[in-house]
Every structure is written in structure tokens, then in C-alpha cells.
Symmetry: C2
Subunit: 389 residues, 2 copies
């Protein structure tokens, strides 16, 4: 059990890239000025570094203008911002989203429904996690302020047809938001190809620092601020700019942009290898999500007759770090809302395991999991009252 | 002009303490796990580090329970949270604040007033920046949901009588919030002595990292979350926990707690020395704020016949970094709302300079400013159309 640890929970968070850390370091220790302090050089240095990072991020997203990028503290803030600002402040009070969104979309919507008279339509998904474009079309009313559909699901990895869905919203004059936390840095995410008016992302999902994210806001689209105060972010998001982390997010965006082309096929192959290897050695497992339209680095499986959490505990003893469902709800005893939404019974959903890779994942990591996990599962199944082989 | 730079804008932001950076570093490069991932050791390590940091912060504030500390992305978020959650979600729709609050209080209130039917009473202050307790008492109505008064003002340094004001609010059953950004780490800030129900703070104001703050919420006080999603922060603030920064905030709190006793009198003396030195060499300057009830590290002066910004530009050439008004509104041509509120005419307010020190400030820094600044001012006054000596 003393082998090198295997981290395969990159959908939860990623290791900070050493090059990103190196880029951040001078802004902790040397150039610590407040970017809003424009009357002395240290403040201007901080400001220039921030704008340069904004350019790197705009570049990764293919945005027309760097001003379309507003920096936030995380994608959860970005998501809450769009939901709250459009629905609390606008005259239209209907929002459409999907049943497999992250809680950072579903929870603010539920709250507004309960306390602020908002109406919400939660679109169901099929067994692969796909939203029906026709159903979206049929759900839009004159009251609809916003459609928010995630780019890729964080548990099962399905990539949704954002362009098609955004076009449907726009045909009816409705704004479109997408939570792209699981795609930025994994597959090309180009805002003009996607057509979304708003896009949320989080730096720590692509080897940048935690505590920093962004909201892309298409030029000409009005959005009331969520956090008000100082004039930072051109009046769109107040609070002293977190320069080291912003610089880190920019660098991480640059590195991700360079890696995608070679990494996406490599990780896709590793995921296939992992699935084939596990499937050959373990009976009664199933793979979740769309087999084709998916992010390259994620495999979600259900293992009949075991609790996902029990598997995680055993794998941890071998230094293998994976998850069951998303990190954000880890510890909750409820089955994943995503797995229920794709039609899995609760007892099957409980047996889910998510593997998520990065450029650091090696073939030997995959081989080791294929070697260890079937034994772990076999042992657990023998103890299980629900397993009957 | 090649002497060592003098940073005297610590009210805008502070240099990250090398010990704080050293505490953060392993959580960037080694323990990068998601603190919500409790099924493997790296996640638990992150979680433990976060809880330990929360304890350090609770210790600095003398909180009864670590659970009273909720981590946010900055004090601006903390301030917006309290204002929005209490006024948008509650049944009472009246808020009382002061005319010298930070924009992170005034702007969300103005927005709610304009768009959500909230009523606001903005208490005036006297020439020292003090709120009248009697006036607060008279302003509370049955509709008042919240009183929010800052602990110390960020431009002039006046420390307000929070205990007395909180007691008045509580006598009428009204919740009390204080923005303590400028006092935490500068003077003892003990939540039970202050009596506030909510207290905002920001790590980068006491040599911690940018992008991390907290909201103290007194046990038993209900506050709807502002940012919703995952179950982080016991359901009070969603978003992947920013472990390196949280660890840094904890360490900075610990260091600040150790320094206060010796630093407060030392900086107070340096401030006096600076004021005496400048006042002896420059005619027609005035000192703003309360001469006694003030934070120890800040001096705000108005220099007749010059624009503060012009002085800053010259001082920058000598490597001296100070500010005019607050960093957040730096660049704005409007005179400071704080200086107007203490009764200064706009033309006088334009000539304001803020010096703010830290434990890094040395007597030689003060001496150098006393040596250089009078010449700079004299030169500017000679060019000034409004100066008639």
C-alpha cells in the first residue's frame, strides 16, 4: 500500500500547476499593491498583471473583447450572480434549467421560487443526460428571463448541445447562460461557437488556484452587479482584486489552451482503457453518461451491490483518490440528483464511482486501478446484503 | 530618487507576511485536495487545515465558537451578504447606516432602495466622523431590520462606539452589523465586547492574502445564504473552499494577535511624529478624524491649495506610496464622500492625503516623508491658481 498516490478526482479540483504557482509567486511577495491604487507604480503593476491575465482567459475562450470577462471568486458566485441578477431585478420571472445542473444553479433557483415568486421549469434529461431541444423550445414563455444549461455535467461528463439550445433561446429573445466548469481547459470552449450570453468558469478546475473564477458576459448584455462597492471590474464586481490568483488563472488558461489538442485524445484513450479493464474484470457494472458526447477525462460507473462510499474508503487505503458523485455533496447520504435524473434507481445510484483524469494521469495509474478495484469490489459484494452475484 | 520604496498605503492593502506565505505554500503545491472530498486523506487534510485556520480567526476575535466564522471571498462580499439577505428576504424593510460607510455598504443599500422598496436612513456624522447614539436611537422604527455602522473609517481612521450603538439597536430588537476591515489586526477586536451580531473582515488588510474574508455571525442569529450551491461552510456559503488563502488568513490572524500589543503604541507614535513633522514644516494643513478615538496606524490630512492626486504623483517619483481617499475609489474625480460627510468643502477634500502604516513601517520612513513632502507641496502650491499663501 506504499505506492505513489493516484489522484483521479480532477473534476472536484486539480493540482495547481507549478508554472501557475511560479507566475503567482511574485504577486504574493513582491508586487502586492492594490490594483485600484493607480497613483503609484506597485498599484499599476498589479493592474497591468490583472489585465494581462484577463487577456489570457479571453484568449482561451475566443472572446471578442477582454472586457467580456469579469473576475469573480468562483463559478458558484458566477452562477448565483446570473440567476439572482436576472430574476430578482428584471421584469420577467421565469427561468428554465435542467435537472442535472450543479447545485450552484439549482439551489439559488429553488430559493427564488420559494421566497421571491420566481417560476422555474426544470427540464428532464434522457438516460445519457441529454436535454431535449424540442422540450426547451416548448417551455419558453413570454415570461422567460433566462435559460441556464450546463456545458458538461460534472458527475457523468455528458456534453450538452449548447449551441443548439442557445439558438432556441435566442430565437425567442431569451438570454442563455452555461456553466462551463467541467469543459474549460478540457475541450475547446469558444464563446462565439457556443453562442451563450453568459458563461461561468472556475480556475481550480483547470490547474489554476482555488478562490478565483470568472463570468463571461457577452458585449452589449446588461447584468446588474451581484457584489457592489468599489469600482473594480469596471463596476461589475466589487472587492479588492485578488491579483496573485487572477495572474494564476490567466497562466492556467494559457497552459490549458496549449495542452487541449494533445491531452483530450490521450485522456479519452485512458478513460476507455479504464472502462474496458474494469468491465472485463467486474460483472454487473454500468457506465453512465453519453458514450460519445462527453468530456474526455471522466468515467462514471455504477457498481451493483456496493455503496460507492465504501469503495472510496477502501481505495483511499491504497492511495487512490476518486469520488462518488460530486465533491460538493460528498458526505451527503442522498443519492446523486444527476444519477436519479438519468433514470437510475436510488440503490444503483448509491454504487456510483467517478474517475476524473488530468494531464498528470499516467497509463500506469489506470493499470493500477484495474488491478486493485475489482478485488475491493468483490470483497465488498461478499459482505453486501443486496448482492446476489 | 533611488532610495528604498516607502509603502504607506496599508489601509488599501498590506504586504503578505512571509510567514503567512510559508503557511500557504504547502496547500498550493502539495495538499491541493478539495476540502469537501472527505473520502480520501488529501481532502481531509485540506478540511483540517481550514478548520484550524477558522480557529485562529475565532481566537483573534474572541468568538465563543468557531462555527460563528463563515469564510467569504472578501469583506465586500460579507457586507453585501448581510445587507441583501436581511433586507431582501426579511419582512422588515428599513436599514440604518452612516454617511461614512465603505461603498460596499452604501452601494448595495442604494440599489435596494432604488429597485426593491427598501427604506434607508443614512446617519450624518460630526466633524470627527462620529455617529450620534441619540440620533441612532431616534431613527429606529418598527420596520428596522438592521443597523450597520463601521468599526473604524477607512479614510480618516475614526473608531466608532460600536458597543454603545449595538446596545441601542438591541434594546429595540434590531440586528447590528459592523464592517471591521480597518480594525481587525490593528486594535483588539473582540466580538463579545463589541456586541455586534455580524462583523465583516478581510484578510489582506492584516497581511493575509487577497481574495479571502469572513463574516462573523453570532450564534443563534439567522442569516440566509447569499451564495448558494454546495454545502460548504455548513451550508452558509457555497463554493469550493479556497484552502491556501484560508490557511493564510488563519496564520495572519495569529500573527496579528501577537503583534497588536506592541505595534499599536509604536504606530500611534509614528503617526504623531509624522503629523508633528509635517505640521511644523507646512502651513495650512489640517488633520482629519478623531484625535483620540482612532486606529493607531492612520493619518489623514488636507493640504490647502493642492490636489491630493498631484501630490501622490510627485511622491510616487520618490518611491513613496500613499493615497488620497480610499483605493476603491482611486481614480474617481469626485471628492471623498467621507470628507464631505465630516463637513469639509469639496475643494478642501480634494487636497486629502492618507498615510497608513504597518509593522513594517520604520521611523526613517516617516522622517523621509517629512523631508520630502513639504517641498513637493510647496512646488505644487506655487503652480496652484487657488493658493494664495
Amino acid at each position: 500500500m506504499s505506492d505513489k498516490p493516484i489522484y483521479m478526482d480532477n473534476a472536484a479540483t486539480t493540482r495547481l500547476d507549478p508554472e501557475v504557482f511560479a507566475a503567482m509567486e511574485p504577486f504574493f511577495n513582491k508586487h502586492f499593491g492594490n490594483a485600484a491604487s493607480k497613483y503609484y507604480q506597485e498599484g499599476r503593476t498589479a493592474h497591468q498583471a490583472m489585465e494581462s491575465a484577463r487577456g489570457q482567459l479571453a484568449g482561451l475562450l475566443g472572446a471578442d473583447d477582454e472586457k467580456e470577462i469579469t473576475i469573480t471568486s468562483c463559478a458558484t458566485e458566477s452562477n448565483n450572480w446570473v440567476i439572482n441578477s436576472l430574476l430578482l431585478n428584471g421584469t420577467k420571472k421565469h427561468v428554465i434549467t435542467s435537472a442535472i445542473e450543479h447545485h450552484a444553479i439549482l439551489e439559488p433557483i429553488e430559493f427564488l421560487e420559494k421566497h421571491h415568486g420566481i417560476k422555474a421549469t426544470i427540464l428532464p434529461v434522457d438516460e445519457r443526460g441529454m436535454v431535449s431541444p424540442q422540450l426547451l423550445k416548448d417551455s419558453i414563455t413570454d415570461e422567460t428571463a433566462l435559460v441556464s444549461i450546463m456545458h458538461a455535467n460534472n458527475e457523468i461528463g455528458t456534453v450538452l448541445p449548447i449551441r443548439e439550445l442557445a439558438d432556441i433561446a435566442h430565437e425567442k429573445g431569451v438570454l442563455f447562460h452555461t456553466d462551463a466548469c467541467q469543459t474549460v481547459g478540457k475541450i475547446p470552449v469558444k464563446v462565439n461557437e457556443l453562442g451563450a450570453d453568459f458563461l461561468s468558469l472556475s480556475a481550480h478546475k483547470f490547474h489554476g488556484p482555488k478562490g478565483t473564477g470568472a463570468l463571461y458576459i457577452r458585449k452589449g448584455t446588461r447584468l446588474e452587479p451581484f457584489i457592489r462597492g468599489g469600482g473594480q471590474e469596471r463596476g461589475r464586481r466589487a472587492g479588492t482584486s485578488n491579483i496573485p490568483s487572477i495572474v494564476g488563472m490567466g497562466k492556467a488558461a494559457e497552459l490549458a489552451g496549449k495542452r487541449i489538442e494533445s491531452e483530450a485524445p490521450r485522456e479519452r484513450e485512458l478513460v476507455e482503457k479504464l472502462w474496458q479493464g474494469l468491465n472485463a474484470k467486474m460483472p454487473k457494472i454500468r457506465r453512465n453518461g453519453d458514450p460519445e458526447k462527453r468530456i474526455p477525462n471522466l468515467l462514471n460507473i455504477c457498481v451493483a451491490g456496493v455503496e460507492g462510499e465504501a469503495v472510496l474508503g477502501y481505495l483511499d487505503m491504497y492511495g487512490i483518490m476518486v469520488s462518488s458523485g460530486s465533491a460538493c455533496t460528498s458526505g451527503s447520504l442522498d443519492p446523486s440528483h444527476v444519477l436519479l435524473a438519468i433514470g437510475l434507481p436510488a440503490e444503483v445510484a448509491h454504487g456510483s464511482i467517478r474517475f476524473s483524469m488530468s494531464h498528470e494521469t499516467e497509463a500506469s495509474d489506470v493499470e493500477r486501478i484495474i488491478e486493485i478495484m475489482p478485488d475491493v469490489v468483490e470483497r465488498l459484494r461478499q459482505m453486501s446484503p443486496t448482492w446476489n452475484g
